[in-house]
C-alpha cells in the first residue's frame, strides 16, 4: 500500500528551531512535540477521564448483572443517568463495566501484538535466510486474510465448541483471537528496523566488543524502532476495541450477562424505537474511545518524526 509520504494533519505547528538546545532524552523531546497537538492532548485527557470512570465503576450503587424488575426500561433520569435495561439494570453501571471489558481486551491485544510482532520481526530480521523467508511468508499470508471474516469464523467456532472454557475465559480468548490477526504490521516494522540497522557501524562495533545477540537486539536495534512501534500499537488499540465491539455486536464475542459495549448495542437492537437510550450510550462510548485513540496516535506519529513536522511547516 502506498500512502503519500507527506503527512500534514492539522494541529501540529511545532517549529523545530527551539529543538537545537542542549541534548535531552528522547522521551522529553517527544512529549514536548506531542503537547503541541491540541487534538491529541484533548483526546488524552478524554481517555484518562474514561479510564477513571471505568475504574471507579466499582463504587456504583448498582450491580452490573443483578436484575431489578421494578425499574425495567426506565428512561434516563437523575437516578439512572443512562436509563435502565429490560432487566432493570442501571445502564451507566453496565456501560462502565462494559468499558472495562473493552479496554482490557484492547490492552491485551496490544500486548499480544507487541510480544508476537517483536518476536517474529526480530527473529526474521536477525537471522535472515530461510528463517526470514518462512516467517515473512506466514506474515504475508496472515495479512491476506480478510480479518473481519476470520474473526467471525473463530468467534462462532469458539462460542459453540469452547463451551464452558470459552465462557469462563471469554475476555482472554477474544483477545487472543483478535491478537492472532493483528501482529503483522509490528513484525514488519521490527524486521525493517533490523535490516537497516543490522549492518551499521555501531552495531558491528558492539558485536566486535563481544556483545551477545540478545543484547544487540534489545539495546541497539529495538530502541531505534521504538517510535513506529508505539504509534502502531496505539492505532492497534483502536482497532482492537472496534474489533471486539463488532464481534460482540454480532454475538460471537463477549457473552452476556457480562456487559461489553458491543453486546450492549446488540441487545439494544430490539428496543430501538421505544427505548433508544439503550443504543445511544454504548455506541457513543465506542466512538469517543476510538476517536481519542486515533488522535493520540496521530499526535504520537508527528511527535516521533520531527522531519515530517518540518515538512508540515514547510521548512524542508
Amino acid at each position: 500500500m502506498s500512502i503519500p509520504e507527506h503527512r500534514d494533519d492539522l494541529g501540529t505547528t511545532a517549529l523545530l528551531a527551539e529543538e537545537a538546545g542542549p541534548a535531552r532524552s528522547m522521551a522529553a523531546a517527544v512529549w514536548r512535540r506531542f503537547r503541541r497537538h491540541p487534538g491529541a492532548i484533548a483526546s488524552a485527557a478524554l481517555l484518562l477521564l474514561l479510564v477513571l470512570g471505568v475504574v471507579l465503576a466499582s463504587f456504583s450503587p448498582y450491580d452490573p448483572e443483578k436484575s431489578d424488575l421494578r425499574v425495567r426500561l426506565e428512561p434516563p433520569s437523575w437516578h439512572h443517568p443512562m436509563g435502565t435495561d429490560p432487566l432493570g439494570r442501571d445502564m451507566l453501571t453496565r456501560v462502565l463495566y462494559g468499558g472495562r471489558i473493552s479496554l482490557v481486551v484492547g490492552l491485551l491485544v496490544v500486548t499480544i501484538t507487541l510480544v508476537a510482532g517483536v518476536t517474529v520481526g526480530s527473529l526474521a530480521g536477525y537471522f535472515g535466510g530461510w528463517v526470514d523467508n518462512v516467517l515473512m511468508r506466514i506474515t504475508d499470508a496472515t495479512l491476506t486474510l480478510p480479518s473481519l471474516l476470520v474473526l467471525i469464523l473463530l468467534g462462532a467456532l469458539l462460542r459453540e465448541v469452547g463451551g464452558d472454557f470459552f465462557r469462563r475465559n471469554n475476555v482472554l480468548t477474544i483477545a487472543l483471537v483478535i491478537g492472532l490477526l493483528s501482529w503483522m504490521t509490528v513484525a514488519r516494522l521490527v524486521r525493517a528496523a533490523f535490516l537497516t540497522i543490522r549492518e551499521q557501524e555501531f552495531v558491528i562495533a558492539s558485536r566486535a566488543l563481544g556483545a551477545s545477540g540478545l543484547r544487540i537486539i534489545l539495546r541497539h536495534i529495538l530502541p531505534n524502532a521504538i517510535g513506529p512501534i508505539i504509534v502502531e500499537s496505539t492505532l492497534g488499540l483502536g482497532w482492537a476495541i472496534m474489533g471486539e465491539a463488532g464481534l460482540s455486536f454480532l454475538g460471537f464475542g463477549i457473552q452476556p450477562p457480562t456487559p461489553s459495549w458491543g453486546n450492549l448495542l446488540s441487545n439494544a437492537q430490539e428496543h430501538l424505537s421505544k427505548h433508544p437510550w439503550l443504543a445511544i450510550f454504548p455506541g457513543l462510548m465506542i466512538f469517543l474511545t476510538i476517536i481519542s485513540v486515533n488522535y493520540i496516535g496521530d499526535g504520537l506519529r508527528d511527535a516521533f518524526d520531527p522531519y515530517k513536522v518540518l515538512q508540515k511547516v514547510g521548512e524542508v
Partner: protein, 346 residues
C-alpha cells in the same frame, strides 16, 4: 512487466495454499464438527449422525478430507448411502476444479448460494463506493487547496470522526432517526424503510428501491468518505507544491484548470491504487450493514453461515475473499505502473 506479473502470480499460489491449509486446520482441529452434538446438531440421533458423517466423508482422516476438499473424490470409492461400505465413486470435484461443495444448512451448491446474493452485494457496495468517491474527491481537493481554512479544519475533524464511528452503531442511529422517529408527513408511515431491498407487496418501483438504499448506503459510505477525503487531501498536498504545477500556473492557466486538470490527475494515482486494495474490505465490511438492514447479500449470508457453523459456506467464502485480496494487490501494482510511467517493475 510481463515477467514481474508472472512471478507475482506464481508467488500467489503457495500463499493461497498456505491460507487454505490454515483455514482448513482452524475449522477442523477445534473439537466438534457439524454433527458433534453441539448447537443445532444436538437434535440429530447418534445413529443418524454416523450415517451422515460417512455420507459427508467426515469419518476420514483430516489430511484426506483436505485433499478431497481441494481435489475432489471422484477418483476414490465413497460411501454414498452411509451404510459403512464404500461402493461407488464420489462426485465431488474439489475447489481446484471449481466445486466448492454444498452448504450444510441449505444443501444447495455453495457457488449457487453465492451467485444468488452476489448481485445484491455488488449493487449495495457499488452505490456505496460511488457515493463515497463523489463526495470524497471534491472535499479532499478543496480541503487541500484551502489548507488550514475553516472548511479544511471542519473536514479534517469530520474525517477523524467518520473513521471512529462504528458502522453498526451508525446503522442503528440512522434507523432510530429515519425509521422510528421521523414520519412521512402525508401517510404517517416511517420516513424511510429500515430493512430489505424493496417493499414485498408492491411491484417494482424505482423510488421504492432507492428508498431502501438510502440508509444502508449512508451507514456504509460514511467511513469510506472520511478515509478517502483524508487520503486525497494528503496526496493533493504532495502534488500542489511540485514544480510542474507552478509551471502550469506560470503559463497563465486559470487556477481551476491547474487544480482540477493538472494537479488532481497525479493526486488520483495513489487513490486508484488504494481503491483496488480496498475492494475486498468493502465486501467484508458489508457484514454489518447487511445484517442491520436485512439486506439479502453475501455479508449477511456469511453471518448466517457462521451462526449455523456451515463449514463449506464459510471456508469457500473465506478462500474466495483471500484470493480476491491477492488479486487486488496485484491489480493495484499493475494500475500503479500503468498510470505512473515513472514506476518500473522488474
Amino acid at each position: 512487466m510481463g515477467r514481474y506479473l508472472a512471478r507475482r502470480l506464481l508467488q500467489a499460489i503457495p500463499m493461497l495454499f498456505l491460507i487454505s491449509i490454515g483455514m482448513f486446520a482452524l475449522v477442523n482441529i477445534v473439537p466438534g464438527g457439524p454433527l458433534s452434538g453441539h448447537g443445532r446438531s444436538r437434535h440429530i440421533k447418534p445413529q443418524k449422525a454416523e450415517i451422515l458423517k460417512r455420507q459427508f466423508g467426515l469419518d476420514k482422516p483430516l489430511p484426506l478430507q483436505y485433499v478431497i476438499w481441494l481435489a475432489g473424490n471422484d477418483w476414490m470409492r465413497v460411501d454414498a448411502d452411509g451404510d459403512g461400505v464404500a461402493e461407488s465413486y464420489g462426485t465431488r470435484k474439489g475447489i481446484l476444479r471449481g466445486d466448492f461443495g454444498f452448504s450444510y444448512s441449505t444443501r444447495r451448491p455453495v457457488l449457487e448460494e453465492i451467485a444468488v446474493r452476489l448481485p445484491n452485494t455488488l449493487l449495495l457496495m457499488g452505490i456505496t463506493l460511488t457515493v463515497a468517491l463523489v463526495i470524497a474527491i471534491p472535499v479532499g481537493v478543496i480541503s487541500a487547496v484551502k489548507q488550514y481554512s475553516v472548511f479544511d479544519i471542519i473536514v479534517t475533524t469530520f474525517s477523524f470522526a467518520g473513521q471512529a464511528i462504528p458502522e453498526f452503531w451508525l446503522g442503528l442511529i440512522l434507523v432510530l432517526i429515519f425509521y422510528a422517529t421521523l414520519k412521512n408527513p402525508v401517510t404517517g408511515d416511517p420516513l424511510l424503510p429500515a430493512g430489505g431491498m424493496y417493499t414485498l407487496e408492491a411491484g417494482f418501483s424505482l423510488v421504492d428501491r432507492i428508498n431502501h438504499l438510502i440508509l444502508p448506503v449512508t451507514a456504509g459510505a460514511l467511513g469510506w468518505i472520511a478515509w478517502y477525503s483524508r487520503f486525497l487531501r494528503s496526496s493533493m498536498l504532495d502534488v500542489i507544491h511540485q514544480p510542474y504545477v507552478r509551471t502550469a500556473r506560470g503559463k497563465g492557466l486559470r487556477e481551476r484548470a491547474v487544480i482540477w486538470r493538472h494537479a488532481l490527475r497525479n493526486a488520483l494515482i495513489p487513490l486508484v491504487t488504494i481503491l483496488a486494495l480496498d475492494i475486498p474490505y468493502l465486501f467484508a465490511g458489508a457484514v454489518f450493514v447487511e445484517t442491520i438492514f436485512a439486506w439479502p447479500g453475501l455479508g449477511r449470508r456469511y453471518y448466517q453461515a457462521a451462526l449455523d457453523r456451515d463449514y463449506p459456506m464459510l471456508m469457500s467464502m473465506l478462500v474466495i475473499t483471500a484470493g480476491i485480496i491477492i488479486l487486488s494487490n496485484l491489480l493495484a501494482d499493475i494500475i500503479y505502473a500503468f498510470l505512473d510511467p515513472r514506476v518500473q517493475y522488474d
